[in-house]
Structure formats: structure tokens, C-alpha cells
Amino acid sequence: MSLRAWFMRIFEDDALPDPDRRTFLRVTATATAAAAIPGTAVAAAATTKRRRHWGMVIDLDRCSACNACSIACRQENNIPSYGPEETFDGARPEWMSMLWQEPQRADALPSLLPLPCMHCADPPCVKVCPVGATYKDPDGFTMQVWDRCIGCRYCMVACPYSRRSFNWTEPTWTASEQQMLNPDVATRPRGVVEKCTFCHHRVRRLCEEAALAGREPTDAECQRLPACAAACPAQAITFGDLDDPDSKVAGLAANPRAFRLLEHLGTEPSVYYLEKDRG
């Protein structure tokens, strides 16, 4: 390789997909983890014309804290079930869980906040990962490559929302549970960190199916796409493209009741909440 070509490779951001990286991915990625691997995500993004900013709006006025979202999340993403002791001890992975929110005013009632990963635009967890096991997808997902994680847990202490879980034990399923495992989602071994993916596999499937049919996914198809949104009986969770001004999620995010958690940290979360309607 000439010196000039070498420099071009070093300094040009928009170079073509690079063979070294592909080889590396082929070598390291297991077949199961391939769904979450960036190479495929990049390839998928290359076929999609438009960049999206996937986001979520959770209407606290509708939410009855029934926990259906966290149960559905556990089913969809192959999170093993544990007893209450491990749960309250913090020994089991939690992707979507309820957070007790103290009332802001004396006359208001306390509420429960469904808490997925915020998929921040400027995520502290991505900056601190020493090996790039977590990275920012061009479509707004904050991804975690389980196969690459070395288990240093830096992302866990860096996340201000504490939305990351470590596999403290080897995950186990009973024989009947094993039959219900979702083949679209890789199971995670002991010693790695995991987190909510916004049901990335569902989004990818929808986009690919739409691309095969030669169209773009519609907003209506996206609104209840993640498992938590699909399971919510009160339809409190809405999913979609925040960059699309016509989408329902963008409209809700512009609602005066909308707020994001810990905005002062500048993480720019992609999850909006709608305050309890005081009117």
C-alpha cells in the first residue's frame, strides 16, 4: 500500500467499509450475537436511504404501573427469571424496570416510572467502554455487543440512569423456559454487561421487510414495535422516529408535558416522559 493510500485510510472518515474490520467481525462474532453486531447494522443502514432517530415516549398519565412492559421485555429478550431475593439484591439483569418516583409537590401522588435504557445521543457509557463493546448506532440506538464485552463494568458505573446490568451468575433456564427462548435475541453469558436494545431485532426485521417490499416502514407499524410497547395495555408507550415530524412519537415529544430524565447532565436521552396531567 502506498504511503498516501495508507494516510487516506487513517484520516478519511467516509472510506468504504474496510475489509480488516469485516474479517475481525467474522472471526469474533458468534452466530447468535451476529444480530447485534455493528457490521450487519452498518450494512443494513447502508441499504436504508434515510437515517432515523428512534425514540420512545412514555405517558405517565396512562401508565398504571402494571409491570406488563418489564415482563414482556424479559420474555422477548431471554432474560432468565430469578426469585425476589436476587431481584431486590440487584443480582439479576433488569432491562426495563419500575422506578419509584417521589412526588414533586406535597399534594401530588407518587408515581412509578417505567425505566428502559435512555439511548442517549451523547451516552456516557459509550465514552468509557475501553473496547468499543458499546457504541452509538447511526439510527440512534446505543448498542451493546455482548460478545465483545470484557466485563469491566465501567459502563455500569458511568450510566447516570443505572440502566445496565451485569451477569453475576451463569444464566439458567428450566427445560420449559428453554423452549420459549426467543431465537432472534442472543443469550448472554456470565461476566458480561447487558442492557435494553429498544428491541433492535424487531426494528431491523421491520426495516428489512419494508426494504424487500420496496417501501419505508410506516409510523403506524413502528408505534408499538418494541415488546414493552406492544404489551402495554394502556398504550402508554409509543415508539417511532423522532426525526420524522409527522410521526406520533415526535408529536408527543413536542407536547408541553414532555420531559426527559436528568437533562442537566447533557446526555440527550431518546426517551421522553409525559408528566401526569394535573388538569
Partner: protein, 545 residues
Amino acid sequence: MSRRIFALDRKRPSRVLPAGTAGWYALVALALGLIGFAIYAYSIQYRQGYIVTNMRNPGRGGAAWGLYIAMDVYFVGVSFAGITVASIARLFKLEVLEPVTRLAELLTISALLAGACVVIADLGRPGHGLLELPALARPSSPFFGTFTLVVAGYLFSSVVAFFVTGRRDAATMARVGPRGLRWFYRAWATGYRFTPEEHARHGRTTFWLAITILPLLVCAHSTLGLIFGIQAGRPGWYSALQAPGFLVLAGASGTGMLILATVILRRMLKLRSKIPDSAIHWLGGFLWVLSLVYLYFTVVEELTATYAGPKLDRHVAHSVVTGQYSTSFWVYIGTMFLGFAIPFLQYLRGKPSVTGIAIAATLVNVGAVVKRLLIVVPSQTHGSYLAIEEGTYTPSWIEWSIMAGAAGLVLLIILVFARVFPLTHGHEEDLTRDAPLPRDPVRKVASLVWASIAIVLVIVGLTDSFRVWSGGELDPRLPYSPLIFAAGVMMLFSTAIVYEVLPGRRVRITSARIVDRARTRASAPKSALPTSIRATQRLANRSEP
């Protein structure tokens, strides 16, 4: 004080090394026991997972980092002080510290090895860590600095300094040391010849090594403080004081550990004549200054957090000073204060005592371990901006055992080394970088070429690593560019070895030796030649018919 470290006993040349004592054997047994038990504890953790530790998910108020990270930071801190003391002694020609410089370097190397073991114990998947960090480490994570600068910088530069400064003594030992180990001494000596040129070159190398190691150490150790200092999401961590605070606490605990190691070895191996009290007194002075500075940092830290700080900073500070962690906090304050007060009062009275300084050194180290835990833990259990219930963390016996094993490793390395190699230099008093050197263009060019290659590697590796700062790029474009950077840093330091070890023209060296011998025979002033040269020459003369 006897400078004649190798004041060779002609009748028993093998007795240049200290004999073992009952205390020495007891300590070695203790160290081996600790290491063995740590391996057992780690096997349990390896089989059952990290559930056997008391670390848990922060989402439920647990601490994802605990004793392992705290002790890793502690061990790296101890190593920081070792090499710093050695470099300061060389740079400022502190003769008083000379008897402890080799021990200080040894402490650096052994503490870093212990720190590496602790990291292995902490990583969820250590195998993946070892394979992936050299290939994929990204500079946006402070762990990049820890991986590249601490491993490449501290460990390698300490090994280089240790090797280079030990060559002369190794060459002597190859002639007079125990026969079974002479292969080891010969390998270490790498052809060292007792010529004035070799000596003058050595003076240059040690000076340049010392002056390059110091700034690198400050940078590398700061990355450890930045691991915590740049986390805006954790009240109590987010502070510009973290990096300098880490440096000072590292200095205090490491100086204390050096004092302890010196005092124990002196007693165990009867080295009192070789390591005089004055060295320990000097270190005691260093210890109280650093302890005082760190106490001052603590006061500033807690005042800033509690005065009108953000609500959660106040909350974390209260949990530390008056709340759940108050016992640990006041233990830390008490030990650190005594660690300052004992040597300070002795200094005021003008009567420093080795026992007092050793007690203070122990207390400072207890305080440092507690303080490291107080830095790591409360911000995780009490520092969530969300209304997450507050948890607690106390290390489990598995965690304590593995850490004790790491400490045992440090102890074992130092104890064994003290029996196989002289701990004190015999010749440093007239080392200077200004000694005249004959022209040696080959050596100069070879060293410059070596260093230039190293600098190119550093630039290339660092440039390509920085491309993946935190953007969409996942991997460096050049495979293993973090490793290229680290290798460049290591090569840069190994220039010292190239410069020193490269064989010169034999003819001149032989003639120089003849000239020296002639001078010695003509009973030139003895101080003109260093002790060990004279010793070797005596040996050489004796073997001649």
C-alpha cells in the same frame, strides 16, 4: 555508614547476600499461604461467577465496583511512589536515598504485578480482556491510559530502570555470588565491563531515564484519577481534584509501603549496616508532608461538597462523613492524621525514630485502603440522581482473600529478591551524566534510530487509536493500533538498554582496563575508582599468578 556494599569478604565471597533468618522463612510461608488461599478463593469465583462477591447492579442500589477496583488503584499507587522515589533520588542526587532506590523499583514492579492480578480478578471475562485490549482499546476511555500508559509506561520503564541500574552489581555478582545463580547474574549483566566508559554511559542513561519516567508517571497515574473524576453522572466522583488527589495519596501510601518494606527487610535480613537510619528518616519526612497534603485535599473536598454543593453531592458527602460510611471515614481520618502527626512531632523534636516512622507508615497504608474504598463505593450506593433505593456494600471474604493474596505476591517477590540479589547499589556516588565519553558514533546512531522508530510507532498507534474516540467507528483501521502505541512507548524506554548494552569496540575497552589496572597498581588515590571496580580488580589480581 558503609558504602562498601560489596566489601567482599575474601574468605567467604558467597556471603555478599544476606543469610535467611527464622523471620524471613516465616514471612515467606505467610506470603505463600496468602497466595494459595487467594487462588482457592478465585477458583470459587471462577466456578460460581461474581455472585460470590458482594458487588451488585447499581440499578438496585448496589456497587458494581468494589474492593477490587479500590485495591487496584491502591497497588498502582504504591508502585507509583516506588519509581518516583527512585527517580527523584537519581535526579537530585539524594545520596541519602540511594540505599533504598533498588528496593523502591522492586516495589514498583511487584505492586504493579499485584495490580494486574487484581484487574484479572475484577474483569468479568479476563481472557477476552487480555485479547481485546491490545487490539481495540479506545482512548476515550480512561482505561486506555491504564492499559497502555500504566503497562507500557510504569511497568516497562521500571523494568528497564531496574535492569539497567542492576547490571553493574549483576556483573560483580557473576564473579562473587552463589555459584548456582551465576547464570542469572551473567544474563542480567549482559556483558557489563568495569570500564570508565561503561560507567559514564550508565550515568547518562540513568539521568535520562529518571527525567523521562517522572512526567510519564504523572500522566499515567492521572488516568486512574480521571476514571472517577470525569463521571458527571456520579455525584462525589465528578471533581477536578480526583487526579491530583490520586497522585498525592499514591505518593503517601507508596512511601509508607517503601518504609515498611525497608524496615522489615532490615530487621529480617540484618541489613542495618547497609540501609542506614537516615534513609528511613528522609522517607518519614516525605511521608508526613504527603499525608498532610492529602488531609488538606480531603478537607477541601468535603467542604466543597457540603457547603452549597448540589443536593446529591451533599448527600453523598453526608453519607460519608456522618452517615452509613462514617466509621470508615473517621478511621481514615484518624489513621492518616496519626500517620502525619507521629513523624511530624518527631521531626519537630529533631529525633526521628525508625519505629515511629514504621508505625506511621502502617497507619497511612490502612488509611489509604479505606480511603480508596470511600472513593469508589459511596458514589455508587448513594450517588444516583434517580430515586433508586440506597444500597450497601461490604466486601465478601472471597474479595478480601484475593486481595490478601495480591499483597502476599508483593511480599513474596520482595523477600525472595532480597536473598538472591544485593538490595543496595555499590557505586552510584560518582554517577554523572557529564562524565566525558569517547566518541562512539555507532552506539549513538543505533540508539537514535531505535528511538525514532519508537516515536513513529507512538504517533501511528496513537493517531489511529484516536480515530475511534467515540464516533461510529468501532475498530482502529490498523490492526492492534493500541498495541502499536504501547509497543512504541516501551521501545522508547528500551532505548536506554540499546544505548547501554550495545557492545563497543573491544580493543579500546581492553586497553582501558589495562590502564586502570596499572593505575591501581601504582596505588593511585583509591577514591578515583568506585568500590565495586576496586573489588573486582582485587579479585582479578588475585586470580592472576
